[in-house]
């Protein structure tokens, strides 16, 4: 065998295989993904890099069963979920995946704790919402509404919400995109902490290259294709990041 590809080194828990996604915009076809192979390995922290419009969100959404590919397969522990119906996809998200979005997407009419309870109420092995908030260092803001929290705090609540069900997989789409440097670092530290202490397999999207240094593995997308997929041997903690 030639040089083993990085993907085969460890068992992958979730992987995209030859995934393509075509959006139909009126008469125009937008090829957001063109035959992408990206595996996610058990316990790793992967950073997905790429310029705006390169297909990162599309890929993440497909991995997280928020969306379905036009062609290709999405394997969760060897089981192809791409062909599943709406109901199974919902169950898959409910049981296995936690999401963190660029714009936090907290429910504004619910307090921090209630935003987390929204998830724990329907999961099988939830943390107590208070524990989850402890994890992100926000117990004292528990009963605040999103509007009473800063952007960074909101994003930390969003992370607490994502991890509170103790998902196997944590998917973060530009979690620092709307935050300033210091706050962003704080958020990344929380993600790193979750990955290490809970062993949650984590994928973080960013268009900001320096963030890649905190990853175990870095996948670069360009124009809907994988440009590179490499292990990061000089993994640093988020607090040491600079940009």
């Amino acid at each position: 065998m030639p040089e083993p590809s990085p993907s085969s080194e460890r068992s992958s828990i979730l992987s995209a295989e030859d995934v393509s996604k075509v959006y139909q915009m009126g008469d125009v076809e937008v090829h957001a993904l063109r035959g992408v192979d990206v595996p996610l390995h058990e316990g790793e922290l992967m950073v997905l890099l790429g310029p705006s419009g390169s297909g990162k969100s599309t890929l993440l959404n497909i991995l997280g069963a928020l969306d379905v590919p036009t062609s290709g397969r999405v394997l969760y522990r060897g089981d192809d979920i791409a062909g599943h119906g709406e109901r199974e996809l919902t169950n898959f998200r409910r049981d296995h995946v936690g999401f963190v979005f660029q714009f936090y997407n907290l429910v504004p009419s619910l307090t921090a704790r209630e935003n987390i309870a929204l998830v724990t109420e329907i999961s099988k092995t939830p943390l107590d919402p208070r524990e989850a908030l402890e994890l992100v260092g926000l117990t004292e803001r528990m009963d605040h509404f999103p509007a009473q929290l800063s952007g960074g705090e909101q994003q930390r609540v969003a992370i607490a919400r994502a991890v509170a069900k103790q998902p196997e997989i944590l998917l973060c789409d530009e979690p620092t995109g709307a935050l300033d440097f210091k706050t962003g670092i704080r958020v990344l530290e929380v993600i790193d902490e979750v990955n290490r202490s809970l062993g949650t397999t984590t994928a973080v999207i960013t268009h900001h290259a320096p963030i890649a240094s905190m990853a175990d593995r870095v996948v670069s997308l360009a124009d809907g294709m994988v440009a590179s997929d490499r292990r990061n041997d000089e993994k640093v903690s988020p607090s040491e990041l600079t940009w």
């Binding site: 969100s57 959404n61 997280g64 928020l66 969306d67 709406e86 109901r87 919902t90 169950n91 998200r93 409910r94 049981d95 936690g98 999401f99 979005f101 714009f103 997407n105 907290l106 429910v107 504004p108 009419s109 619910l110 209630e114 935003n115 309870a117 929204l118 998830v119 109420e121 329907i122 999961s123 919400r161 069900k165 789409d173």
Partner: protein, 789 residues
Amino acid sequence: MVSVLDRKLLRDLMRLKGQVLTIALVVAVGVANYITLRSAWRALGDSKVAYYEQYRFADVFARVKRAPDSVTDRLGDVRGVASVYPRIVEEVLLPIDGMLTPAHGQIISLPSRGRPPMNDVYVKSGRFPEPGRGDEVLIYEPFANEHDLRPGSTIPAILNGKLHELIVVGLALSPEYVFAIEPGGITSDDERFAPMWMSGTSVAAAFQMEGAFNDVVVRLEPGADEKAVLIAIDRILEPYGGLGAYGRDLQISNSILEGEIAQIEAEVVFLPGAFLAVAAFLLNVVFSRMVTMQRGQIAVIKAVGYRNSTIALHYLKMVCVIVLFGSAVGVAFGAWLADAMLDLYAGFFRLPMTRGRIDLPVAINAVIASLLAAVAGIAFAVRSAVTLPPAEAMRPPSPARYRASPIEQMPGLRRLRQTTMMVFREIWRRPLRTVFSSAGIAFALAIIILGRFGKDAHGPILDLQFGRQQREDISVIFKNQVADRSLGYLAHLPGVDQVDGYRMTPVRFRLGPRWRDSVLIGLPPDSHLRRLFTRQFRPARIPHSGILITDVLADILGAEPGDLIDVELKEGDRGTRQVRVSGTIDEAFGIQGYMQKSSLHGLLREKPTVNTALLRVNPGREAELHAYLSDIPTVQSIHRKRTVLEKFEGQTRKTMQVITLILTLFATAIAVAVVYNNARVSLSVRSRDLATLRVLGFTRTEISAILLGEQAIQVCLGIPVGMVLGTWGAKALIELQADPEQFRLPMLISSQTYAFSVVVILAAAILSALLVRRRLDTLDLVGVLKTRE
């Protein structure tokens, strides 16, 4: 424990409380309306059926001058007739102490054994008169109440010219007199009209009617041909002075009762439905906006693993809370209002009403209907929430698509200000919203008109009928015709300033196959106290030969000026004469015809006589005059115009005030809800734009104009449409309400009513708009620019 989603639901509702409340109010009004109308309809309708059934209300009625009892069997042999009940019915005067003019009684004979087989009497207290006891009577309960009569009381009555002291042995009602109007009267008057029931042998003895009858009622076999029966009965009674048989449709009490029921029935279909439609539309507006606003939330809720059905349920629950809250208020309000309405009816319609506290199935229907309307209203919004792909919803919605509106392209309008353009484009972007909002406003305005127009019609009609047509103060009706010179005697009575008299005779008008029983009146050539007018309010002259008929009679007969019609006399030789219709006149009551008095005498082949005298009197001496009039033995009844008028006005005014108030409140609820909700949604959609404009230097007034311009246009479009709608509705109600052969309300809506409705709607709209505008003052310029949709 309350789930987190339910907590979100409650907080969302709290945040939208203004909108929730206004919409719930519209639902409440719709439900209350439905419950009120349905309860009234049920109470009147069911009670009527049960009452008619239990007390064996007749199907056919006929009066006759005097027919021997043996004729009864011949009537019973008529095909389709199930049973026949001959009676004696006589008009009497009741000179009660303290009344200016005697009250009018109508004595109905009772069978010598048992209860009347038809048109039975419902004795509410006391007992039936003993057979042969000529001084015992049952008396109409409302009349008794007016005069504090109880079983054991006595009442004076002039029977066939002789004063009797009658003993009241019971208070009663009858299916014949659910709405009691005396012959020739225009409205019910409990104080002045009293049906009374007396032992048949005694009535016969008092009126020399032994072995004969002058009134007959008939029950038909199921499926009988009523028209054929009427013709057969007329033929049999003809030689005995039959005045023409008629069915229930022309029985006055029944026709008024059924007119009212028909009107409620029409309203129960139309009114509550319209309220619910408005509520559904507003829910659509509010929920569409809410779902758009909550795209991000919906998406994240889906992303974390909630099912589509849970999302749908979430919004359905939200609307249920609004509707159930509204219907709870509506049910309570409706129960109260229904009670109030039935109280009002109880003052007019005298029948044993079965009125349960609240009809549960009706309330449940109302709630279910509201829920269905609401769910239909938010169906699109829920659908878009359900079909929203969780991934796509992560992005903010792309800018709404606007197009240049055609209005801007009209020549001369090209140079609209940008701000005006924004208003037009917003309207053009959602033309349906403008259409529905305007429709809501129009509906609100229309129901104000419907609540109020009755007043408009009554004023002029009373003015015309009692001011210009009937110019007498007192009319005296004689039992039989008297010689013209009797008028001279009346002229010399104290207080009499002027006397006129006319001859009235019952006839059947016929043209080809169409006919109608009515009266023909002969007026003297110089009739001062009775004048006739054409539809255009021009005085109508009675030609020397020929007849003027009311236009309703002309319609019934299909007669036009110049046509020859048959006049079948029911007096004298009872012959049939041909008379030429020389014109039509407009009168509010009845379907009579008019001729010159001398021509009428010619038709009847009789000497000059009168049977009605019209008096103008000096008010100061009226009491003195009445003492004389009541003593004249040939007088059958005395009518004081002022009393009639006051009664009529009093009754209509009271009803009208209640209805106007309620409908105006209902309309206000709609107008407020439409304007407020649209403005709130529009504020929510455009607060960013408006804040941006403020940052760019626009004043608060200018941005208010942009925000509220759309609502102003909706209201302005709704107003004229509402006026037209209200006018149509009024026309439709008039057609349902009154039996046109009895009483006609002219189609008349005053400018005050139009103005009132416009002012109410404008006030409601402006108030609601100001409530929303207040929020512009606190528009957070920096904050709004920062928040992401």
